[in-house]
């Protein structure tokens, strides 16, 4: 695959690394017992610790630690027996302590990797540098009053996992696939709800460009992107910006950039000189985290099947392609749905590919059109299974099945009900089909003449007419065979 982009003068390669901030799925915050519920009224979930009142002390939430370890296992990463919480010192109105508790030198999780799968069946590993736990800040509300800023501390102290990748990513698509894969793993593990709109998953993107084979160029960091679309847009814009500067003889300044979602442009937030000196040092209020191999083993054994394992299982059991299997396993709800569908009838195991297609193309497009989610799909896996069974046993045609699915989707009825009520059973009676064909041939003598004169394409016309006459219910193969037979007899 050619990953290069064309500049005016050269071809360029992007070098991209991501820092993903994933909110830990937990009921309470990293160092306090306040609720983490999203969307509550401002400052309604703020403890004395979260507000950094004098003399208040952080106490580690063990559940968040377990969640981080779980995630580390899911990223095939090394879990560190010893890690340390540090203070990252800076002033901001929504940072009540004047420092963020994070992990700097000794993160809880070390090196790991994530595999992304391409459509062409190939795949690529993106290396993970580390995962560490840290507190989220509060939220500054600048739009409530023309001359004042308000602060909402509900989010202050919520646990985040920062997942840092090596600069192994080379295209915006890879970046998108990488974050999708991370999201998928987190959701399988139930360690993050993966909700990008609510900010549960955000990313900082580090990007530089270089001529193929050169050393890494100077990078810029684009802060706080909360959708895959924006990540791709921002990368594309920023790469072009850097290439233009380099091709006109300039050099890249190591800046921190902001991405404007309405203009699609990046702009500098601060340069290297303005960068904060965070004065990291171990938080004296907290003891180092010590985790025994036994504890790690316990957590490991509690981990559910992850997308990669599931993918391999699907490939093996159902002879699916790598790509089909990776689409099915990208989201837990999809693989769950697939599993339930295919297990709803023993027959279906022999039609796995059809099941995949009906889920990932027909059902998905209906869900999309109606802005709905697989989790609350009006068509249950059992009902979809029944529909597919009707197709595989030739009771209805694939074409009719599409209409039936739409009906199921809107009425909530089962496939069987709809087929019976509307009499949609496929016509497989040879005599009945032959009768219809005779009528069509009789009604179109000129067409028959032309066909016999060599205009083969007209076969489609006859098929269409005959189908129309059976309201689409005729078995297409039988219809085709009988039609050809009859026309050729005329010759």
């Amino acid at each position: 695959m050619n990953n290069l982009i064309k500049g005016e003068k050269h071809d360029w390669e992007m070098v991209i690394g991501l820092e993903i901030h994933a909110q830990v799925k937990s009921n309470s915050k990293l160092f306090s017992s306040s609720s983490t519920k999203f969307g509550s009224s401002p400052n309604s979930q703020v403890s004395l610790v979260d507000a950094a009142m004098p003399g208040m002390l952080p106490v580690i939430n063990k559940y968040c630690v377990e969640q981080a370890i779980k995630t580390g296992v899911g990223l095939k990463a090394k879990i560190n027996n010893y890690s340390v919480f540090d203070r990252k010192n800076y002033f901001y109105a929504d940072l009540p302590q004047g420092y963020q508790i994070s992990q700097y030198k000794y993160p809880i999780v070390g090196e790991g990797k994530v595999t992304i799968d391409f459509k062409d069946g190939t795949s690529k590993d993106i290396r993970i540098v580390r995962l560490h736990l840290e507190q989220d800040a509060g939220k500054s509300l600048h739009d409530q009053n023309p001359s004042k800023t308000y602060v909402d501390l509900n989010r202050s102290g919520v646990a985040l996992m920062e997942i840092v990748s090596e600069p192994d990513i080379r295209t915006p698509d890879e970046a998108g696939m990488y974050i999708s894969k991370i999201r998928s793993i987190l959701m399988y593990l139930d360690t993050c709800d993966g909700n990008m709109q609510e900010g549960s998953l955000r990313a900082d993107v580090n990007i530089s460009v270089r001529k193929p084979g050169d050393e890494y160029g100077t990078r810029c960091e684009i802060k706080n992107l909360n959708s895959i679309k924006f990540i791709k847009q921002a990368i594309n814009y920023e790469a072009k910006r850097q290439i233009e500067i380099l091709e006109s003889g300039g050099s890249i300044e190591q800046n921190t950039m902001l991405f404007n979602t309405s203009t699609g442009k990046t702009s500098p937030m601060r340069n290297k000189e303005e960068a904060h000196d965070y004065r990291y040092f171990p938080d004296p209020d907290l003891l180092p985290l010590e985790i025994s191999n036994e504890e790690i083993g316990k957590i490991k054994s509690s981990i559910p099947e992850l997308p990669d394992e599931l993918k391999n299982k699907f490939i093996e059991t159902y002879k699916l392609s790598n790509y089909d299997a990776s689409v099915l396993t990208a989201e837990k709800q999809t693989s769950d749905y697939f599993n339930e569908t295919i297990n709803s009838d023993p027959e279906l195991k022999n039609h796995a590919k059809i099941v995949v297609n009906w889920i990932t193309s027909e059902l998905f497009s209906l869900l999309n059109k109606n802005n709905q989610d697989l989790n609350n799909s009006p068509v249950s896996p059992e009902n979809l299974g029944q529909l597919i069974k009707l197709i595989s046993t030739n009771e209805i045609s694939g074409k009719i099945a599409k209409d039936v699915l739409e009906d199921m989707f809107s009425s909530g009825k089962t496939a069987r009900q709809i087929v019976d009520e509307k009499g949609l059973q496929q016509v497989t009676d040879q005599g009945e089909i032959a009768k219809v064909i005779d009528e069509v041939i009789a009604e179109n003598p000129k067409m028959v003449e032309q066909y016999l004169a060599g205009k083969d394409k007209l076969l489609g016309f006859f098929v269409g007419q005959a189908m129309k006459a059976t309201k689409g219910k005729a078995n297409p193969k039988m219809l085709n065979d009988i039609l050809k037979q009859k026309l050729n007899k005329k010759n």
């Binding site: 507000a51 952080p58 004065r279 990291y280 040092f281 004296p284 209020d285 003891l287």
Partner: protein, 474 residues
């Protein structure tokens, strides 16, 4: 001395020789008389009377029922404002009660007021307080003396008999040094013995709550009341708290005392060396083995302390930014200006000095040379003690290099001021328990203190040695 002890008072209350009201009115009277000492940042007679009323209606048995206690104004209290002696927390009223003060309340003690201290406990003379100096009650008429610091208000409150005990905090000597200056007993327990929850932080890895009292017995009673594990403080220790008072034993026969040679410092006044020798002689007579020990890294303790403590302080005090509570400057045109003006106007000179030092030693390019190195030295200092305690049961040293000095003497010389902590800082860095007891006087008849250090969580041994020395001195 005519001051009644806590132990005696508890008996008198128990036998109804005196009522809670009579007892406390006696103290209230003295507090009002000694107003000129500026011992309290917050004192409200009404509040005290209310507490007396409530206790008189309370029929339950409580260990410290009715006992007047003074609280260093670094402990957050619900019933009284908490300022840390800083303008930045002027009029701050916590909605919560610190672990230590809650324990005292649970046992029925009466809080007579919040005592003065150096701003955020940074100082050795109680002269950096936004609320003015506290005067040592032992001052001669024309020469007001410093009570020591930072817990100078609490030490003075006990010395002037304005309470039967007081809480303090000790980061580098802030209990032991003022105890020595005011001629009272002051104990800083092992780091982690008392929860720090609800104490405005100065240097988290060093801060530890402790007790001032008239004598060692009283200190043993009060320390037991405030010690204990607290899950809200991750550095709080899960250890059993013995009944120090019941277990007091002044028989030291067969014990070994360590005398560290590094504590003989050039320029230490004769009188200080003299009381140290006297103490050793007393112990010798009691059958204690005298062991000369070495704590070779002692000379690095002070510089190490003055890197670690300001570093932590610079971060701990970042929360005082004018955003959420406390003082906020009026002159604000931007967020940065709010920080700058609030903190410039809200903090005093010494606090600013330490924030600057702390910020500097943690900054990129300097961290390794200062903070990291200081942490390594701290480990060496702690190891010195661990080694030494293999050869002895407790260590005896002077508490401070001088008696109480005139109020304004070292005001403008921070280095001289920092030298006050020379004997107290090493044990703080090592997290060890230490007590200061009055032991002798200087030529001006001012009290001098002897410091006894023990092994981690061996407060009992510290108390035993202290009570033994105290009884032989009396």
């Amino acid at each position: 001395m005519s001051k009644s002890s806590l132990k005696q008072t508890l008996k008198d209350l128990d036998t109804k020789k005196i009522s809670i009201k009579e007892l406390n009115q006696d103290y209230l009277k003295r507090i009002k008389e000694k107003d000129n000492l500026n011992v309290f940042i917050h004192f409200s007679e009404e509040n005290v009377l209310k507490q007396i009323d409530n206790l008189e209606k309370d029929n339950s048995e409580k260990k410290l029922k009715g006992i007047p206690i003074a609280i260093k104004d670094l402990f957050c209290t619900k019933s009284m404002p908490t300022t840390a002696a800083s303008k930045i927390l002027e009029n701050f009223n916590p909605t919560y009660e610190s672990f230590v003060t809650q324990k005292l309340l649970d046992e029925g003690s009466i809080f007579v007021g919040k005592t003065n201290l150096d701003e955020f406990a940074m100082g050795s003379a109680t002269n950096t307080s936004f609320f003015g100096n506290t005067i040592n009650p032992l001052s001669k008429e024309n020469v007001p003396l410093a009570p020591g610091g930072s817990s100078g208000g609490s030490a003075a409150a006990v010395a002037a008999d304005l309470c039967l005990g007081a809480t303090g905090t000790d980061t580098g000597g802030s209990i032991r040094q003022p105890a020595s200056f005011c001629g009272v007993v002051g104990i800083k327990p092992t780091y982690g013995l008392c929860s720090r929850w609800g104490i405005a932080a100065f240097a988290s890895s060093l801060d530890q709550a402790g007790i001032f009292s008239h004598n060692v017995e009283d200190a043993s009673i009060l320390l037991q009341s405030i010690a204990g594990f607290d899950q809200r403080d991750s550095t709080s220790a899960k250890v059993d708290i013995p009944n120090y008072f019941e277990n007091l034993d002044d028989d030291l026969n067969g014990k070994t005392v360590g005398i560290p040679k590094e504590y003989s410092i050039d320029g230490t006044p004769m009188e200080i060396s003299q009381i140290w020798e006297d103490a050793i002689k007393v112990l010798d007579k009691k059958g204690v083995k005298i062991k000369n020990i070495s704590l070779p890294h002692t000379k690095y303790a002070l510089p190490t302390y003055y890197i670690i403590a300001p570093a932590e302080a610079s971060s701990n005090l970042a929360r005082y930014d004018g955003v959420k509570y406390g003082f906020r400057s009026e002159e604000i045109n931007s967020l940065d200006e709010m920080y700058e003006n609030t903190r410039a106007q809200g903090f005093g000179r010494e606090v600013k000095r330490r924030i600057l030092i702390g910020t500097y030693v943690l900054s990129a390019g300097y961290y390794d040379a200062y903070y990291l190195k200081a942490q390594k030295v701290r480990k060496l200092i702690a190891d010195d003690f661990i080694k030494a305690f293999k050869e002895c049961d407790f260590i005896v040293t002077p508490t401070a290099p001088s008696a109480a000095f005139p109020l304004n003497e070292k005001q403008n010389d921070p280095i001289k001021m920092y030298l006050n902590d020379v004997f107290t800082v090493p044990a703080s860095l090592a997290g060890l328990p230490g007590i200061s007891i009055p032991f002798g006087k200087d030529k001006n008849n001012l009290p001098l203190g002897i410091q006894i250090l023990g092994k981690h969580f061996d407060e009992q041994q510290v108390f035993n040695a202290a009570v033994s020395l105290e009884r032989s001195y009396e």
